[in-house]
């Protein structure tokens, strides 16, 4: 059976009208050269067109020539003889392999990030020189404060200094930090790299007694002592690097994954800072129950915010933290040598002045 076909030799765009026939070995092409050419079945490659069109073939050994056959009966016979040549053959298996490979790749990447990043973040953060950390910290603090006013009424500032001195006395090694109160109704406090602690006035107003504020400050200084800020920054850069490299810059999936992994690690950091805060308060002789009390009240206010949201939040579930704090705070015997018997963190007068630090004189 001879069927008309078009042969392009891959050297020039000339069209050669040829005839083709199936033999035992492969396809015999007559009419191009004096002797017929045979393309063996093992050598033949079908070029996919994704639509019902003429059968187009090339060779594995040399993928430049083209043979185009318009006769569908010839195509059917070829595919009957060699089913693996049909572009549809094994296609769903290949697609499945691609999907499985993609998902496995994503899984492996997430695993590496999840377990590898905390291992990486600590040593890399430790490598950052202090001067650089200071400069970065200033930038971050400036960004957080923005246009907000820094509260510095004289009496309040003196009270704040007395409180930070108390906390300082509870450190078992020097940690450089400074504390600023910023006018902002949010109930929040944070520590940037380089030891800049920023307390929002909303938190100050919400706190019931100096022990609660002292607890929060000790917690933030715990972050500073562990260099959590710098570690978070290292994680952030490493993560954006990997995720952008993997997904390109236009995929919401990437930023969602980034948030998830960031939060997971900050939850660990929060617990670590809590434990350090208890040690600091203990050594400074400040009643440590304030920290737990503050969080307990926050949780009550938080009410029934979805459990999922709480899980995702930067702070570990507050109930869990409170339980851990309460289990750890009443120490049977003061551990450090300079531990004192608990006494109020500030006098009543100082506490009143501190609460009024945002009032201009």
């Amino acid at each position: 059976m001879n069927v008309p076909a078009i042969y392009n030799d891959g050297r020039t765009p000339a069209r050669h009208d040829v005839t083709v026939a199936l033999s035992a070995q492969g396809i015999v092409i007559s009419g191009y050269s004096i002797e017929p050419i045979t393309w063996t079945f093992d050598d033949i490659q079908v070029i996919g067109s994704e639509q019902r069109s003429a059968l187009r073939l090339t060779r594995r050994a040399d993928d430049e020539p083209r043979l185009t056959v318009f006769d569908t009966a010839f195509r059917d016979m070829l595919f009957q003889r060699r089913p693996e040549l049909n572009p549809g053959h094994g296609r769903s298996r290949r697609t499945l392999a691609l999907v499985a490979g993609s998902l496995a790749g994503i899984g492996a990447l997430v695993a590496v990030l999840w377990f590898g990043l905390p291992l990486l973040a600590k040593p890399v953060a430790a490598l950052v020189p202090d001067s650089m950390e200071q400069r970065i910290g200033e930038k971050v603090a400036g960004f957080v404060i923005g246009d907000a006013r820094i509260c510095d009424a004289a009496a309040g500032a003196r009270a704040l200094e007395r409180l930070t001195d108390r906390i300082w006395s509870g450190l078992d090694r020097p940690v450089s930090f400074d504390v600023r109160v910023v006018e902002n109704p949010m109930i929040n406090a944070m520590a940037t790299p380089g030891g800049h602690v920023i307390v929002f006035s909303g938190l100050l107003q919400n706190a019931e007694g100096p022990e609660e504020l002292a607890g929060v400050l000790a917690h933030e200084i715990g972050h500073v002592a562990h260099r959590h800020g710098m570690q978070a920054l290292v994680r952030h850069f490493a993560l954006s690097f990997v995720i952008t490299a993997f997904t390109g810059n236009d995929w919401g999936v990437g930023s969602a994954a980034q948030l998830l992994i960031q939060f997971a690690h900050s939850r660990e950091a929060e617990s670590e800072a809590d434990m350090t805060a208890l040690e600091i308060l203990d050594r400074a002789g400040i009643p440590p129950a304030g920290l737990a009390a503050f969080f307990a009240r926050l949780e009550k206010d938080e009410g029934d915010a979805g459990a999922f949201l709480r899980y995702m939040s930067t702070h570990p579930p507050t109930a869990e933290r409170i339980a851990a704090l309460q289990a750890n705070s009443p120490r049977p015997a003061p551990a450090a040598r300079n531990a004192r018997a608990p006494e109020p963190a500030l006098s009543a007068g100082d506490w009143t002045s501190l609460k009024a630090i945002c009032k201009s004189e």
């Binding site: 059976m1 069927v3 078009i6 392009n8 030799d9 891959g10 050297r11 020039t12 765009p13 000339a14 069209r15 050669h16 009208d17 070029i47 996919g48 067109s49 994704e50 639509q51 019902r52 069109s53 003429a54 187009r56 430049e64 020539p65 083209r66 185009t68 318009f70 006769d71 569908t72 009966a73 697609t95 691609l98 999907v99 993609s102 998902l103 790749g105 994503i106 650089m132 400069r135 970065i136 200033e138 930038k139 850069f237 954006s240 690097f241 952008t244 490299a245 993997f246 997904t247 390109g248 810059n249 236009d250 995929w251 999936v253």
Partner: protein, 367 residues
């Protein structure tokens, strides 16, 4: 034997290397239903793989579009693979991401707002340059994977040179309030065309920028006259009748930007059609000349506005329909005429091994 035959090309006299003459039929015959099937399969797989399948999706789509396009009944062929696009993307990421992380780190370290603004300016310029570089590099890949009658296309020319021409053109266009635009477009088109080959045969660009500039200038000046005229008329009315208190007058005043915007859009479609005609008419491949004599601004507007509405109303689900319209439009409007001796064209070298990484990064989509 059953004689079922699919879209056979025009019968030609027997024999080997002869010359083809006269008008050539450029056609697009890709079936719409098949494209929809590919589109939705691609969409599903891309979502399942969190985006990784997009390189294979793009490849399937192109294989379909290319093999649906034919000259004298002989279809084009897309020979690229999803793997090549995937590795091209990874390669671009390995270079780009550290670059951008380093720039961001620099912004964090440098003191002062000025430094931060300087860094973001550098970042913006870098993105602009890389967008042009990526566009042209992607074009090189795409051309090297396009064959007709087994002969590859080849796009030569440095992507960086292309970016330099584009950047210079952009700057001069801004400085001249848009008067330089035709020169920029012409020099970019000339660079693309004169570095393009079918096998060993180079394309030629014979157009002069002044020819298209004259047509552009008429449109440009009419927009300027319209703006100035409208303002003058309104100011005159206000002066002579003290109309400024009347609500109808202020309503008319607020219509001015809208009228100007519509005028600019109309002019721009008109000009883009003129330019496409100029571009086709100035392009040659040996003895073969191109032209697009029937193209005009209204038809171009119909295509673009129709596609926009189709995609918008269907939330993107009718994108294949828009693709079909685009393919049919451009193949219908482009004409090829002239004879060429195939024996005098040889195969082109093989193109780059991987492709389109940069363009993928910036999400430049060229079909």
């Amino acid at each position: 034997m059953q004689a079922t035959v699919l879209a056979e090309p025009d019968p030609q006299p027997a024999g080997g290397n002869r010359t083809t003459s006269g008008a050539h039929a450029l056609r697009y015959t890709g079936p719409t239903g098949t494209l929809f099937a590919i589109f939705f399969k691609n969409l599903a797989l891309t979502i399942i793989t969190l985006g990784i399948y997009r390189f294979w999706a793009k490849t399937r789509e192109r294989r379909f579009l290319w093999s649906g396009t034919s000259i004298d009944g002989e279809p084009f062929e897309y020979t690229g693979t999803g793997k090549e696009l995937f590795f091209g993307f990874l390669k671009a990421m390995l270079i780009l991401v550290p670059l951008f992380v380093a720039i961001e780190l620099l912004a964090l370290l440098l003191p002062g707002d000025v430094a931060a603004h300087g860094v973001s300016a550098i970042q913006g310029l870098l993105v602009l340059i890389l967008v042009f570089v990526g566009t042209f590099a992607a074009r090189r890949y795409r051309m090297s994977r396009t064959t007709w009658r087994g002969i590859r296309m080849q796009q030569d020319g440095s992507p960086w040179r292309y970016a330099a021409i584009a950047l210079k053109g952009l700057f001069l266009s801004i400085v001249t309030l848009g008067l330089y635009v035709p020169f920029m477009q012409t020099s970019l088109t000339r660079f693309e065309t004169e570095n393009l080959r079918f096998g060993s045969k180079p394309f030629l660009f014979t157009g002069s920028a002044w020819a298209i500039w004259k047509q552009y200038f008429v449109l440009w000046i009419s927009v300027v006259v319209l703006v100035v005229g409208l303002i003058a008329v309104m100011a005159g009315l206000q002066e002579s009748f003290e109309l400024s208190d009347m609500p109808a007058f202020s309503a008319g005043l607020s219509l001015i930007p809208l009228i100007v915007l519509i005028a600019i859009i109309a002019m721009s479609f008109h000009y883009q059609a003129r330019f496409a005609r100029f571009r086709a008419g100035s392009t040659r491949l040996g003895e073969i000349g191109f032209s697009a004599p029937e193209l005009n601004g209204w038809k171009l507007f119909g295509l673009m506005a129709g596609n926009y509405v189709l995609k918008l109303l269907s939330l993107g689900l009718l994108t294949p329909l828009a693709m079909q319209r685009t393919m049919r439009f451009w193949t219908r409007h482009t004409q090829l005429e002239g004879q060429i001796d195939p024996a005098r064209i040889a195969q082109a070298e093989r193109g780059p091994g991987t492709g389109e990484g940069l363009a993928g990064f910036f999400d430049i989509d060229m079909g």
